[in-house]
């Protein structure tokens, strides 16, 4: 063990331990502000610089909350298991902090390291991510059990059932990316997406991203999957008996887990640190990464402000009857499009970008020596028209025609790309729709009678 190694480890980990908790503070403020605005309130706007009347849009609120939390009385119920009651919030924070290490965040000060010791360079970084994030379940269960409160216990049981169930679609949707890249290494996954080859632009990537995001909401107990802490049913679930700093730790753990899982989504689907102007300023990469994380968190907040929560049986049905089959189907589809057909085209978004470009230039200047319209493109447009008219059979027919025609001609690659792109999405949508019809009860708006 040398000094060098310790220095490297510190450089790799300390920024994470500093940056993300600070971002947590900012996120609580952001969430309160955004929710307030969604609800047509103003939100925190008075707490700014202490001892002055400068409000600073309430940015001092997280600090005030933190100070309040620290000084609050720590209440431990009489019947509680005191050791576990203490350990649970700590245990909730540790895995959340640990998994941050597996995000391919390359800070500019990484160049001061003598050897790359970042955890995301591990060959099985993604697996580690899932393995360790699963430990949060235990902490929640511990909290629910140790409080010796029936609501806490119910919350703990719900949390375990929910997190175990949603881990499966979560992992399965990540498997697609792993399959495509052929590596579990986070860095390699990130590198595979440079130059806007984000996996979310592929049909299977899009589907996997949506599944991943929904499952991530459930994993982090965010609305509409916040059953373990469902206020209206079980008071506060596993937090019921927590107060003061222990509660703050839980809160912190939850938000850090949110960052981590959004970070993984960004890594897997949204191109990690990829973005414009990177050649000019490589350090922007981190900013893009964190910016994308905040984008996802904003969507989470937006959902929280809009949706009510599911019931426990619907939650399970959604995981097992909808997300799981869909993600398995998505793996199949990805495999088909990727390996059975031309891998280069189907895997990237080049095709569609190019076909749009080609059609554009063609209509612009037909007299010039420009490439012909992409084979099958017309058919694909027809298919899209049929699709908008909700003529599913017609759309299928036209899309398959587009695919076949494109294949038959010399510019087959582009035709295939476009056709497959659209067709895969439609197949996925139809699959999802069918699964939805099967898994969900036929709930739809009703008509009412009127008496004069």
């Amino acid at each position: 063990m040398s000094f060098e190694l310790i220095k490297d480890i510190l450089i790799a980990t300390v920024p994470l331990l500093v940056i993300f908790p600070s971002l947590f503070a900012f996120t609580t403020w952001m969430e309160r502000k955004a929710l307030a605005r969604i609800q047509n309130r103003i939100g925190p706007n008075k707490t700014g610089i202490p001892c002055t009347r400068i409000g600073l849009f309430g940015l001092g609120q997280p600090a005030a909350d933190g100070i309040k939390m620290i000084f609050k009385e720590d209440i431990v119920p009489r019947g509680a298991d005191k050791l576990f009651h203490l350990l649970a919030p700590i245990l909730a924070l540790i895995p959340a902090m640990l998994i941050l290490c597996f995000l391919p965040l390359e800070f500019p000060w990484g160049k001061f390291m003598s050897a790359p010791v970042q955890a995301f360079l591990l060959d099985s970084a993604v697996i580690f991510f899932f393995a360790i994030s699963g430990l949060a379940t235990l902490a929640i269960f511990m909290a629910g059990w140790a409080s010796r409160n029936k609501y806490s216990l119910l919350g703990g049981m719900r949390a375990v059932a929910q997190m175990v169930s949603y881990e499966i679609p979560l992992v399965l949707s990540a498997v697609v990316v792993v399959m495509m890249v052929g590596s579990l290494n986070a860095k390699e996954i990130a590198d595979a997406q440079t130059g806007f080859n984000w996996f979310v632009f592929t049909p299977w990537g899009l589907a996997a991203f949506v599944i991943f995001f929904i499952a991530a909401l459930a994993e982090t107990n965010r609305s509409p999957f916040d059953l373990p802490e469902a206020e209206s049913e079980i008071i506060a679930g596993y937090f019921t008996e927590y107060s003061g700093f222990k509660f703050a730790l839980f809160f912190l753990g939850e938000y850090i887990a949110m960052f981590a899982i959004s970070g993984l989504a960004v890594t897997l689907f949204l191109g990690a640190g990829d973005g414009p102007f990177l050649t000019a300023a490589p350090w922007l990469s981190v900013m893009w990464f964190i910016g994308k994380i905040f984008g996802l968190i904003a969507v989470m907040i937006w959902l929280r402000g809009t949706l009510p929560r599911l019931r426990v049986d619907q939650l399970m049905a959604f995981a097992w009857k909808f997300l799981l089959p869909l993600s398995i189907f998505n793996i199949l589809l990805a495999g088909l499009t990727h390996f059975a057909l031309d891998a280069r085209v189907a895997a990237t978004s080049d095709a569609i970008l190019y076909s749009i470009h080609a059609s554009h230039t063609h209509s612009d200047a037909a007299n010039h020596d420009h490439p012909k319209p992409v084979a099958g493109q017309k058919e694909a447009v027809m298919g899209a028209l049929h699709y908008t008219d909700k003529d599913w059979m017609g759309a299928m027919k036209w899309f398959s025609k587009a695919a076949l025609k494109g294949h038959a001609q010399s510019r087959s690659i582009l035709g295939w790309g476009f056709g497959i792109w659209a067709m895969s999405l439609i197949v996925l949508y139809v699959m999802a729709k069918g699964l939805d019809n099967v898994s969900r009860s036929t709930a739809k708006p009703r008509e009412y009678l009127y008496a004069e």
């Binding site: 929710l35 969604i38 609800q39 047509n40 309130r41 029936k150 609501y151 216990l153 119910l154 719900r158 609305s223 509409p224 916040d226 469902a230 206020e231 209206s232 049913e233 079980i234 008071i235 929280r304 402000g305 809009t306 949706l307 009510p308 929560r309 599911l310 019931r311 426990v312 049986d313 619907q314 969900r440 009860s441 709930a443 739809k444 708006p445 009703r446 009412y448 009678l449 009127y450 008496a451 004069e452």
Partner: protein, 383 residues
């Protein structure tokens, strides 16, 4: 012949594995019991197998109090029954007492009574829907929108009566005072703006898949049981009974207004129906308000009646269509200044009769929203 089903207080029998039930006491301080209400629930996993409502935490024997004071002095106490709807409570009491003393209510007062009652109905329904969605787990967003609209109406109440919630505005034979200048215009403006809010509210809630699947098929109440168990108000109409006292009794001057009563075909009678009936009723209330505000005449606000009176011995029962259901007052006069017997028929309490029937077999989350869809106020349940 008899559709009465006596409550069956046996546990649901479980087949197979022997498990012990989890007993939890939801309330009296629980976030979603809408007050100090308690449900002793036995759970099998998350399924409710036994539920026993426990009342009385807010009991102050309102009836006994009223028997020991003059007729007028009870009026402010009726505000505190269903503290969301003090105007309609006042009206129900005034209606019953006016039967005792036979006083003519001036035209303008009648119109203002209708306006106040319908505004109250808007307040009640809009907040109820907000709370209901809150029980479903939405983070209070619809509730905040509801509170914004409620706030505007409460402002109007405050301008008219001096208080936002405990209005104490109705008097036997009319109203306490006339509305201030410009009040009617402000009300007209509010009523004109209200449908836009309802549109937005409906867009937010009525098609949401989660709300649909959470509420449909939950807490079904059949038409027969609803009638037999004395369920009233929107809950009865959601079970497919076209029965609205504004049409049936046509108390006040309700027969002058053109409005429709929404009800269901009675196939489901679930939480979604109860929620939607209230949404639709708000539109009808707006229609009534528009007509009333267009037609309201000038004139006296209260008939000739002394503050303290001695009615002849008689028994009367006056009832109105409160926002929560039939609110009745049963008065027995014995010739003194105080009522011999004063009884409130609380719709909230009686609508709770079927709580257990609706909740059994559902999940605990269903029990919460069923309670929310019944629409209770504990001030009225416990009296």
């Amino acid at each position: 012949m008899s559709t009465a089903t006596a409550p069956n207080y046996e546990l649901l029998q479980q087949e197979g594995l022997e498990t012990s039930l989890l007993e939890i006491s939801m309330g009296p301080h629980h976030p979603s019991t809408h007050g100090v209400f308690r449900m002793d629930v036995k759970l099998d996993g998350e399924t409710v197998v036994e539920l026993r409502p426990v009342f009385g935490y807010l009991h102050r024997n309102h009836e006994k109090l009223a028997e020991n004071m003059t007729y007028l002095s009870s009026m402010p106490f009726t505000d505190r029954l269903d503290y969301f709807n003090s105007m309609t409570n006042n009206w129900a009491y005034a209606l019953a007492a006016e039967k005792l003393i036979e006083v003519e209510v001036p035209e303008r007062a009648e119109y203002l009574r209708v306006i106040m009652a319908e505004l109250t109905r808007l307040v009640n329904h809009v907040t109820l829907v907000g709370f209901f969605i809150n029980d479903l787990g939405a983070l209070g967003t619809p509730l905040m929108y509801a509170f914004r609209e409620r706030e505007k109406i409460l402002d109007l109440f405050e301008q008219a009566s001096g208080a936002r919630m405990m209005c104490n505005y109705f008097r036997f034979g009319g109203l306490r005072n006339d509305v201030p200048e410009g009040w009617l215009d402000r009300t007209r403006e509010l009523v004109d703006r209200f449908p836009a809010f309802l549109d937005e509210y409906e867009q937010l809630l009525c098609e949401n898949e989660i709300i649909l699947s959470r509420t449909q098929g939950v807490g079904n109440l059949s038409r027969e049981l609803a009638i037999n168990a004395g369920i009233t108000g929107p809950m009865l109409r959601a079970s497919g009974v076209n029965y609205d006292l504004r049409k049936v009794d046509a108390y006040g001057i309700y027969d002058r207004f053109k409005f429709r009563v929404p009800y269901t075909d009675g196939d489901t009678g679930d939480c979604y129906d109860r929620f939607m009936i209230r949404m639709l009723e708000m539109r009808e209330s707006v229609a009534i308000l528009k007509q009333a505000l267009a037609d309201i005449p000038e004139g006296d606000i209260i008939g000739k009646v002394s503050k303290v009176f001695k009615p002849k011995p008689a028994e009367v029962y006056g009832r109105i269509e409160g926002p929560k259901g039939e609110l009745g007052f049963y008065l027995i006069a014995d010739g003194t200044t105080k009522p011999y017997r004063y009884r409130v028929r609380p719709p909230s309490l009686i609508n709770l009769t079927v709580l257990r029937d609706m909740c059994l077999g559902g999940k605990i989350a269903d029990a919460v929203i069923i309670l929310g869809s019944i629409d209770i106020v504990l001030g009225e349940v416990d009296r």
